[in-house]
C-alpha cells in the first residue's frame, strides 16, 4: 500500500529472548511471565517518547497466550504498562508467528486513518511454559487444525522438513545443506553481537562444520532438518512507537532518530490449502512484490533485510522469494556469504529467528526494531555499515506455512 501521509517508527526496544542458550535460562527454574515482558518493553518505549500521555492507542500482538499461558484478552495489559494508558483504546491482533507484523500494519493504518498520531505497538510471547513436544501442538495451530492429525509430532518442523526435502530433491542435498549450514552460522555470529539475543552466549567453534556434522534423523526429530535448522523456543517482547509527522513533534523525537515507512503489504493465503509450489514461499513473494512496487524501488535499493527464518530453509526460500536469487540459487547465494553482515545484502543482522530468537507474537516487531536500529545507527556492536546508495530496509514476517505475511519498506527519517 502506498501511504497517503508520512508514517514513522521510533523508540524501539527488545527484552532479552529467553530460552535454551541463555545462561540465565534453566527449564526447572521459575521464569518471568507475560506481564513482566509486556511491562519491560512497554515502559522502555514510553520513556523514549515522553510518557503514556503522548500515546493515543495501543496495539498488542501475540500468537497464543490462551494456551501457552492460559491468558486471553491481552489488550487489557496495555494499561498495566502505565496507568496513563487506562481508558485509551487498545486492540490485540493475532496472525500466528506473523502477529507482530500485523500489529505494525494495524498501527500504520491507525495513523493513516487519522485516528491516532502515536501508537504503541508491542508484541509478546512466553513459550517455555511447555516442553517442546507439547509446544509443537500449540504452535501447530498456526496451520489448519484439520491437518493436525496426519501431521508430524513436531508439526511445523515437519512442514518445513517437507519443503527442505523437496528442495534437496530438486537442487541437490549437499548443496542445500551447505547453504542451510551457512545460514545457521551467520545467524549465530550475528547473535553474538547482540546482548538481547538468545544465542548471545553461544561459543560453538566452526559453526558450519558443526551444523553439517549433525545429520537430520527422522527417528528422533524430522527427516530433513536437525534442531539447529530450527528457530528457538523463546520468551520475550518487543515494542516500537508508530507515529505520524505530528506525532514525532509531539514526542520530541527528531526525524533522524526515526525510520519512515515507505510502503507495506499485508496479505493472506487460504489456510486450508497446501502450498501450490512447495519449492517457493509464494505468499511472501507476492507481498514483497506489492510492497516494492508501491515503494517504487527494486530489491537492489535495499541495504538490509530482516526475514522470517523460522527454519534455515525458510531463510533460503526467503532469499529467493524476496528476489535476491533465482529459484534453486538461494542456497548458493547464502553459502557464498552474500547475506553476511559485510556481504552484498546483510540479512538478519542481530541473528534473526535462528539466532536472536523467536518469541512468536513479538518477532515481527523485533524485526522492525532491528531495522530502526540499523538505519539510525543505534545497533551498537551489531551495527553494520550501510551503503549510501541503498537507503532502504525491509522486513518480512510470516505466520503459518506462508499464509499470513506482512512486508514493510523503511527508510531513514
Amino acid at each position: 500500500m502506498k501511504l497517503r501521509k508520512k508514517v514513522y517508527m521510533t523508540a524501539g526496544y527488545n527484552t532479552i529472548s529467553l530460552g535454551t542458550g541463555r545462561k540465565e535460562f534453566h527449564p526447572k527454574k521459575q521464569r518471568p511471565g507475560l506481564e513482566h515482558y509486556i511491562k519491560e518493553a512497554g515502559v522502555a518505549v514510553l520513556e523514549q517518547i515522553g510518557g503514556a500521555k503522548n500515546v493515543d492507542e495501543g496495539v498488542i500482538s501475540n500468537f497464543i497466550a490462551a494456551r501457552f499461558n492460559k491468558q486471553a484478552n491481552l489488550a487489557g495489559f496495555m494499561p498495566y504498562i502505565d496507568e496513563g494508558l487506562k481508558y485509551k483504546p487498545a486492540v490485540r491482533v493475532e496472525g500466528a508467528c506473523g502477529s507482530g507484523g500485523m500489529a505494525l500494519t494495524t498501527s500504520i493504518k491507525s495513523i493513516l486513518s487519522d485516528t491516532a498520531d502515536v501508537v504503541l505497538a508491542l508484541g509478546v510471547e512466553v513459550q517455555n511454559t511447555y516442553k517442546a513436544i507439547y509446544g509443537a501442538d500449540i504452535l501447530a495451530q498456526a496451520g489448519w487444525q484439520k491437518k493436525r492429525k496426519d501431521g508430524h509430532a513436531y508439526f511445523f518442523p515437519g512442514q518445513f522438513s517437507d519443503r527442505a526435502g523437496a528442495y534437496y530433491e530438486a537442487y541437490g542435498e549437499d548443496y542445500a545443506r551447505k547453504g542451510m549450514a551457512k545460514w545457521f552460522a551467520l545467524m549465530i555470529e550475528n547473535a553474538r553481537l547482540c546482548e538481547t539475543a538468545q544465542e548471545f552466549h553461544n561459543k560453538t567453534p566452526n559453526l558450519v562444520d558443526f551444523h553439517l556434522a549433525n545429520k537430520p534423523n527422522g527417528r528422533f526429530f524430522v527427516d530433513n532438518l536437525n534442531v539447529f535448522d530450527c528457530s528457538k523456543v523463546s520468551d520475550g517482547a518487543s515494542a516500537i512507537a508508530v507515529v505520524s509527522e505530528e506525532g514525532l513533534a509531539k514526542i520530541g523525537v527528531a526525524k533522524k532518530d526515526a525510520v519512515e515507512i515507505i510502503s507495506f503489504a499485508q496479505v493472506e493465503d487460504d489456510i486450508t490449502k497446501d502450498p501450490e509450489n512447495i519449492l517457493e514461499l509464494s505468499t511472501i513473494k507476492e507481498a514483497v512484490r506489492q510492497a516494492l512496487t508501491d515503494a517504487e524501488i527494486t530489491v537492489d535499493d535495499i541495504g538490509t533485510i530482516e526475514t522470517h527464518d523460522c527454519f534455515t530453509i525458510a531463510g533460503i526460500l526467503g532469499v529467493e522469494a524476496i528476489g535476491l536469487a533465482e529459484a534453486g540459487k538461494g542456497a548458493g547465494f547464502v553459502a557464498d556469504g552474500n547475506t553476511a553482515r559485510d556481504g552484498k545484502i546483510p540479512m538478519n543482522t542481530t541473528g534473526g529467528l535462528v539466532g536472536w530468537g523467536h518469541p512468536t507474537g513479538a518477532t515481527g516487531i523485533h524485526q522492525a526494531v532491528t531495522i530502526w536500529e540499523q538505519l539510525t545507527g543505534k545497533a551498537g556492536a551489531a551495527q553494520i555499515t550501510l551503503n549510501a546508495n541503498k537507503p532502504y530496509g525491509l522486513t518480512v514476517n510470516m505466520g503459518g506455512d506462508d499464509k499470513t505475511v506482512a512486508v514493510i519498506v523503511y527508510k531513514k527519517g
Binding site: 507439547y134 487444525q145 508430524h152 509430532a153
Partner: protein, 445 residues
Amino acid sequence: MNYLEKLQNVSVLGAAGKMGSGILLLTAVEMADQSLLPENKDKHFVLNAIDISSEALEGLMKYLKTQVTKIAEKKTILLRKLYADRRDLIENFDIIEEYVFDVLSIVRPSTNMEVAYNSNIIFEAIKEDPALKVKIFTQIKNNNKNNPWFFTNTSSIPITNLDRDAELDGKVIGFHFYNPPAVQKLVELIKSENTLPEVEEFAYKYAKNLRKKVVPSNDFAGFIGNGHFMRDALHGISEVQNLCDDNSLAKSIYMVNKVSQEFLVRPMGIFQLVDYVGIDVCHYIMSVMNPYLEKENLHSKLLDAMLNAGIKGGQYSSGAQKDGFLKYEKGRPVAIYDLDLNKYVEISEYKEEADKQLGKLPDSYVPWKATLRMRNKNEVFEKYFADLGQMDTLGAKIAKKYNAKSNEIGKQLVANNVAANQQDVNTVMLTGFFHAYGPINEYLK
C-alpha cells in the same frame, strides 16, 4: 515358546520396591507397546503389581504415571503412528495422555499374592532372603495351573539352589537388573543347572525388547557384578585398616575413598558406592554369598560395626542419599563417620593433610565424567596410568595396588567360571557400574 502368549499375564513380586518398580515400569511399557501393534489388537494384557505395602503401591502408581509420561514424550513420533487409526486423538497432548492411560490400565496393583496364581511369568524382586523366596515360589507353583516361569532379580543367591529348593524343574532364571532398572542398560542373566531352553529364549527376547544389554553369568553366588564389587569393597576396607595405624579412621576412609574415585578415575569412591547400595545391603549380600564360597570369607567387621551403630546408608524414596560412611549435603560428602569417636567428623578437618599425604594426581589426570565421551579414551588411560606408574606417592601406591586387586578379582571370576570371559567382566563393570575402563586391563603392566 510363544513370547506374546507368555507375556499376556505377568506378576511382579515386590513391585513397589526400588528394583520392582523399575521392572514393573519396563514390563508395563513392553506389554502396552505389544498391545498397540495392529496384529495384537485383540489380545488382552495383565500385569499384577504385588507388594505387601498398600501405601507403597499408591506411590508406585504415581511413579508409573510420571515415568510413563516421560517415556511417551520421548517417543511421540512413534506413538503417533501406533495411534494413527484413532482419529479422536489429534494432538501430542491427546496421544501421550492416551498412552499413559493404556500403560497404566495394564497394571493391577494388589497386596494379595493370590493374583499371581493366574500368571505365566512371575518376576520376583523381593528381599534378598533365600528361604523367603523359596517359600513364595513354592506357594505360587503349587497354586498356579499355568506352569509359570520364575524370573528372579536376585543379585547374589545361586539360581540352582532356588530351583532345587522350590522344586521348579528348571522353570526359573536369574534376571538381574541393575539399579535403577529403567536407566541401567545391563542385565545379568543366570541359568540354573536345569533352566529350560524356552525360559532362556524368552528372557533374551524380553531383554532385547527392553533394549537391555545381556551378560550371561554362571551360577555362582554374587554372579559377576557383586562378585567383583563385594571383593573390591573389602579390599578398600583392608586399605583403610592399613592406614589406620597412623591416621584416624575417618581420615583413612577419606583417603581410600579419594584414591578409589580420583586416582582410579571411577564415578564414585568405594565408600560412597557402598553407601549408595546400602551398608546393610552389602552386608547382607556378603552373608548370602559367603556360605557358597569354600576358600574365601567375605565378611567385614567394619560393616558389622557400622550396622551396630545404626548407620545403613541407602537411599530415600526420593532417590536422595542417606548418610552412611559418608554424610551428605545436597548429594556431596561433607563428613565421615568415625566409629572410634561415634560421630561424623567434618572432612575439612583432615582434608588438607590427607591430600598432602596422598600426593598430587598425575598431570594427565582427566576426571571420570570427562572421559565418558572421549573417543580416544584408551589412549587417555594409557597415558594416565603410565604417568601414575612412575609415581611413588602414597596415593599412587594405593591406587596401583587397588588396580592390581581389581584386575585380580576380575580374572578370578573368569578362572572360577563365574564369567565366560574377561570381556564379560569388563562389560558388567562398564555398563552396570559405569566404570570408564574395565577392571581387567593392561594399563599398569
